[in-house]
């Protein structure tokens, strides 16, 4: 019991400083990112999803924030496929958390997972919009 407890304590002792540091970094940078979301989209139907996925990947915060920002972007005329890529990458790709994920699950696993998730965010965004149009 004591050994199991100490192993859990050790894991937390390793992860908490990084976790708190990353949360501090995220909350420090988030206001800058938020300011520029609407300015980075080009209006190009093919490039915007890529921009959306890239912006979502380096963004952070709870999913609700991505929905709110995504809603604002839609109102500003950004395409649905770009907004979908943005919110999907926001929730599935975690560039900011990559060091923490790497330290526990391995660098190769973490990098691979995030790259695959980035590609999937584009694929699912396109498929979702195509499926929506098919049923409308």
């Amino acid at each position: 019991m004591k050994k199991a407890f100490l192993q859990a304590v050790n894991s937390f002792r390793q992860s908490l400083p990084m976790m708190i540091g990353l949360l501090m970094l995220i909350n420090f940078l988030e206001p800058f990112f938020r300011k520029y979301y609407s300015r980075i989209f080009s209006g190009n139907y093919f490039i915007d999803p890529l921009i959306g996925a890239a912006a979502g990947s380096i963004s952070f915060g709870i999913p609700v924030t991505s929905y709110v920002v995504g809603g604002e972007l839609l109102n500003q005329g950004v395409s649905l496929v770009a907004v979908a890529a943005f919110i999907l990458a926001w929730t599935t790709v975690g560039v900011a958390m990559l060091p923490l994920e790497s330290s526990f699950l391995g660098k190769k696993f973490a990098v691979t997972r995030n790259v695959v998730n980035f590609i999937f965010s584009l694929v699912i965004a396109v498929l979702t919009v195509v499926t929506l149009k098919f049923f409308q």
Binding site: M1, A8, S11, N27, R113
Partner: protein, 177 residues
Amino acid sequence: MINKKKNKGKIGGRGNFLFAMIAIYIIVAFFNFEFVKEALKKTLITLWKITPILGAVFIIMILINLYLESGKIKKHLEKELGWRGWFYSIIAGILISGPPYVFFPMLGEMKKHGMKNSLIAVFLYNRNVKIPYLHVSIYYFGLPFTLIVSLYIIIFSILNGIIVSWLSEDKTERNFS
């Protein structure tokens, strides 16, 4: 002894990152105190919110270390559960709420005990079907969009697990059980 030294080094590196962030906050506070106050407030609120989840994760980690021998999870998921292991990973990913980073220590511990990369990837990917936030997604993007995205996330999570495990070269997993 070597492990102890290695661990100390790791903690030191992580601690340095935290101290660097504290230093940045202090320096910026001299120029814009309100901005730093707001960022610090958000950090503390987030930490407060994730404390119960961290507590739960801590207890689960103790239980994993206490009751699971190394390799037992792998054996259980591969031989006894088979495809149900994938199904349970999907369901657990959807139902367990909380930011993904709080689960990394627990998943790391499970990996040490033999959990496959593919199932970890499936679990993490399905955490994006956010049941508590579905109504917000419906409000902004509509019910059809929300349902279709959620469905695609679940379907693609399986593909995600296969590709991630294959690319991260976990040769033991290439037989999709």
